[in-house]
């Protein structure tokens, strides 16, 4: 094509030439190569996606590619038969890029974990939300705040915190750790609403077990199940007489009483005051209870250690500040903050999308190669959907199931840490409105390439 305007003619020429095309292709290659390096560095596909594949640089280069491919086609107008294969290839590529954009923009790609004999209709999505509830009486909660947050891209710092104003109270998110190794620890709390915490040891000739029990709030009983016996922290309330039980009950803010029950006996075996360091014989199996620590007001907090990259043991976490107090919240966990009269419940969580129908897992099987622990196949027996329209089936590797525009794939499974028996199946759930565009684009492009090969080259220079 030729244009009168000289400047525009020059611009047009650059747009249609390889002076634009080759640098664009090279830029895409370099960008996506750096994406794979980022993924390897942090061992995290999400990081690579957020930093590279869904970044403005990527959109820009992809936009330039589509622009270049289009302009080159327009430039050849009016088309002759010899142009057809090249036009096919270019349209195919444009459709592939376009289809990819549609998928990313409007598609759903999440995961659902379903316990064996359990149901779930929520898909966990990659987006994260910060949600805060408040309570004045400890029972009824009101949602005060809900907002999508992207701390991965915009991490808050003490200097530039993410500020949440709730009436009089201000909560500042002051830190974000993408990869944190976590340990629980118990710390002293100053609020009168906080619960108590004990650390104790149960011991006899064979057993020496140290455990910690912490109440989530004042007077809310917490317990530890020790097989044949149960240890409770809170008021005495015997429900199940078929068990041996110990109740440790806070009294007058800084004292602790104990009450020991033997099974099948409604009357306490023993009761009294217990101080740190005291040992009490329980009267069963020669077990003794030793109190190692007692904090009348305490909360459980996360101890966060930054790590270099993602491992199966890491999670992301944010730090929240209220006044002088600082607390960590781990992704998909919740935090309780006690103020003078009210308490806040704060969650930092992946968004959950309601599918509108449940996935029910009837059974899950892992078959192994003969004589090894190496998995040969996974199979989930499922019922998907609500009753009249429910369908039964088996989902396995390479064999997904479809329901209401969603496709449900076998992705992974969870096993019991001790018995190594599978306990839950993890499906990836996917809705892809761009699928047909990508498939059609692939087809058109492939046809174009085959055609190109059959086309006799006029220019011999290439070969």
């Amino acid at each position: 094509m030729k244009f009168e305007n000289k400047a525009f003619q020059k611009f047009w020429k650059i747009s249609t030439s390889f002076q634009l095309g080759i640098p664009v292709l090279a830029a895409i290659a370099i960008l996506i190569a750096s994406g794979t390096i980022i993924e390897a560095k942090y061992n995290d596909a999400y990081a690579a996606r957020r930093l590279i594949y869904e970044s403005w640089m990527m959109y820009l280069t992809m936009g330039l590619l589509v622009y270049n491919l289009t302009i080159v086609m327009v430039d050849r107008l009016p088309w002759q038969p010899k142009h057809y294969p090249f036009i096919f290839v270019h349209i195919g590529i444009i459709m592939l890029v376009g289809g990819g954009y549609v998928t990313q923009k409007w598609g759903v790609d999440g995961s659902v974990a379903v316990n064996i004999n359990g149901k779930n209709n929520y898909v966990l999505m990659p987006q994260t939300d910060l949600v805060i509830y408040a309570t004045f009486d400890g029972d009824r909660y009101t949602k005060m705040f809900e907002q999508e947050v992207d701390f991965f891209k915009n991490p808050p710092t003490p200097e530039k915190p993410f500020v949440v104003k709730l009436g009089e109270t201000t909560l500042n998110v002051i830190d974000y750790v993408p990869y944190a190794r976590l340990n629980k620890k118990v710390v002293v709390a100053n609020s009168p609403q906080a619960g108590s915490s004990i650390k104790f040891q149960l011991m006899n000739a064979n057993v020496k077990q140290v455990e910690t029990i912490t109440q989530t709030r004042k007077d809310k009983r917490a317990e530890f199940n020790f097989g044949p016996a149960q240890v409770h922290l809170g008021a005495v309330e015997r429900k199940d007489e078929s068990k041996n039980e110990i109740y440790l009950t806070p009294k007058d803010n800084d004292q602790l009483t104990y009450t020991i029950f033997h099974k099948n006996n409604p009357k306490p075996f023993k009761t009294g005051l217990i101080k740190i360091g005291d040992v009490v014989a329980t009267g069963w199996m020669g077990l003794e209870l030793r109190l190692l620590d007692y904090l009348p007001q305490a909360t459980e907090e996360w101890d966060v250690v930054r790590t270099e990259g993602l491992t199966p043991l890491t999670s992301s976490a944010i730090q929240v500040q209220r006044g002088q107090d600082k607390h960590w919240i781990v992704l998909n966990d919740l935090l309780k903050i006690f103020a003078d009269t009210e308490a806040y419940l704060m969650t930092y969580q992946n968004r959950r999308l309601d599918l509108g129908f449940p996935i029910e897992l009837k059974n899950f099987k892992v078959s192994k190669y003969q004589g090894t622990m190496k998995a040969m196949a996974y199979e989930s027996e499922v019922v998907i959907g609500k009753d009249p329209a429910a369908i039964k089936g088996v989902i396995s590797m390479n064999e997904p199931m479809k329901y209401n525009n969603y496709t449900i794939y076998q992705a992974s499974f969870q096993e019991d840490e001790v018995t190594r028996e599978p306990v839950a199946s993890i499906f990836s759930v996917n809705y892809d409105p761009g699928r047909w565009i990508k498939y059609l684009g692939s087809l058109i492009m492939s046809l174009g390439i085959v055609w190109l090969f059959y086309q006799k080259r006029k220019r011999k220079t290439a070969v």
């Binding site: 290659a29 270099e308 220079t461 290439a462 070969v463």
Partner: protein
């Protein structure tokens, strides 16, 4: 055409005769055919012993000292079990990683160490603790920890073999897991004792020049008797005699070694013809290529039969497959163009790739392993993996031809203008073939991923690098089309762009080690591969400056 067919028939007969020679039975050999359950499949004891010795010693045969005759793996492993104490003071364990040797306080001059030196060492326990601590963090293992892991494996293998716990020889009625030597039912134990005695007597006869023939026969009988018992106990689980025989034959013949020997002969004869500028004699080279290609194909067929799947599931298998494809493409191009250069390039590339595959068993694992769950679809393995990797074959050929062409630039382009032009044609054509396979390969990969993971494209490193390779070659082809790349540029691109293939093929699995294609991950060899790539970059630069300094007449 007839003459070609005749030649091919002769060639096949010739190469089949290799197998025949190798396959003849020797007394005392039956023990190698004893079926063993290991790593998810039933294999002959011969394979088990070779793989075990490779883990422990790094080689398939044991050499007590420089000049000694190598001892075969099955005898080594048998004696480990029958009298482990006799191995205590022999340098049996290969340790190469310097940091590990440092921490154990051992000399870095040596490569092999005795069990006493390694495991009676207090520091060994510390290292194992270090490894287990690292594992608890669930982080990726660095090369140092991978070396520790191998040490742990060597220790474990030796201990378990010595205890007879790892050699599963007798099918169990109740479970899938076979019974190991240590747990054999009481009534079966004497039969295995007979094997043990037979081995001892046979080895004794070998060293003391007793009646080897008789001792061998006794041992064979003991093994056959044991197999009969196993078969009677669970006839339905003991049906693989043919396969086990074939596998021992495969181990003996070592087809890929023969293939590269033939390729070497072919390359040498082509070079000779060419340096002497002979008009005739191409048939000799062709015959060698044909033999090599046939044996190469047969070896591949062996693996298909033994593994019951297309053998393209790990680095070793793809190197075999890609070199096969490179030779095939060179044959096709040569038959089309008759330049005598493509077939030379093809045999050189095939030779080089097969030698690499054969010489690094610790990095390129040649053992036949069961498939990861997600790959258990022969249809998709063939359609996606084989198309993608066959494109690497074409790029590999372009690389070899590019190297040859640059060599001519170094020798002086003026004198070889015609040859350079021919090689450039070869590079261009090979790249076209590569792109023609890679593009559908990537799309098919997308369709498989959509089908099995639920997304067509997910920026997984393996798929991303395949795309980068495609972009690289498309840039080169287009740059040639618009005249940006002259002959030199084309040849240099053939060499340089192949680095992208190396990254996609080897780098993603062995260097990046990230993403969903984790079933192909491995470790080791980075230093060799980097030097290889770097040398070629230097070579291209050198050729460039030589070419610059020659005043071009065109």
């Amino acid at each position: 055409m007839m003459s070609l067919l005749k030649k091919l028939t002769l060639v096949s007969l010739f190469s089949l005769s290799i197998f025949a020679v190798q396959a003849k039975a020797v007394t005392g050999d039956r023990i190698r055919y004893l079926p063993v359950q290991d790593a998810g499949r039933v294999k002959p004891f011969d394979t088990f012993a070779k793989e075990t010795l490779e883990v422990i010693y790094g080689k398939k045969t044991y050499k007590p000292d420089e000049n000694a005759k190598p001892i075969e793996a099955h005898w080594v492993v048998m004696t480990m079990m029958l009298s482990p104490e006799s191995w205590g003071n022999r340098p049996l364990f290969e340790v190469k990683f310097h940091d590990v040797l440092d921490k154990l306080g051992l000399s870095k001059e040596k490569k092999y160490f005795t069990g006493e030196e390694l495991f009676r060492n207090e520091k060994f326990a510390n290292l194992m603790q270090e490894l287990s601590n690292k594992r608890e963090t669930k982080e990726k293992l660095t090369p140092y920890f991978q070396a520790l892991q191998r040490l742990e494996n060597q220790f474990y293998m030796f201990r378990e073999i010595a205890a007879g716990r790892i050699l599963h020889v007798f099918p169990s009625k109740e479970t899938d897991q076979w019974v190991s030597v240590a747990e054999l039912p009481v009534e079966i134990q004497p039969a295995f004792m007979d094997i043990s005695k037979g081995v001892a007597q046979y080895l004794g006869a070998m060293t003391e020049k007793g009646s080897v023939e008789e001792a061998g026969k006794k041992l064979d009988d003991a093994v056959l008797h044991f197999q009969d018992l196993a078969k009677t106990a669970s006839p339905e689980k003991y049906v693989f005699t043919e396969k086990v025989k074939t596998e021992v034959l495969y181990n003996d013949v070592h087809p890929f070694r023969w293939a590269y020997i033939f390729y070497l002969m072919a390359a040498l004869s082509f070079l000779f013809i060419w340096i002497r500028k002979l008009e005739k004699g191409m048939a000799v080279g062709w015959a060698f290529v044909a033999c090599g290609f046939l044996v190469h194909t047969l070896g591949f067929a062996f693996r298909v039969y033994l593994a019951e799947r297309p053998p393209v599931s790990n680095m070793y298998e793809t190197v075999i497959w890609v070199s096969w494809g490179a030779v095939l493409f060179s044959i096709i191009l040569e038959l089309n163009y008759r330049f005598r250069l493509f077939i030379l390039g093809g045999s050189l590339v095939g030779l080089f790739a097969l030698i690499v595959a054969d010489s690094a068993p610790a990095i390129l694992d040649p053992s036949i392993q069961p498939l990861e769950a997600v790959l258990r679809s022969n249809y998709w393995l063939i359609v996606h993996v084989m198309t993608i990797t066959i494109s690497y074959a074409a790029f590999m050929l372009a690389f070899g031809l590019g190297d040859l062409g640059l060599l001519y630039y170094v020798l002086g382009e003026d004198k070889h203008r015609e040859t350079v032009q021919k090689l450039t044609t070869g590079v261009y054509r090979a790249m076209q073939i590569g792109v023609a396979f890679l593009t559908p390969g990537i799309i098919l990969g997308g369709i498989w991923a959509d089908y099995s993971w639920g997304r067509f494209w997910g920026w997984d490193p393996k798929e991303t690098w395949a795309l980068i390779v495609l972009l690289g070659y498309i840039v080169v082809l287009h740059a040639r089309l618009v005249g940006w790349l002259k002959n030199f540029g084309m040849l240099a691109s053939g060499v340089i762009t192949f680095s992208l293939v190396i990254m996609a093929w080897y780098g993603v699995n062995f260097v990046l080690g990230a993403g969903l294609h984790s079933y192909g991950f491995g470790a080791g060899g980075i230093e060799y591969v980097s030097v290889f790539v770097l040398l070629h970059v230097v070579f291209v630069l050198y050729a460039y400056f030589v070419q610059k300094s020659q005043p071009s007449k065109s």
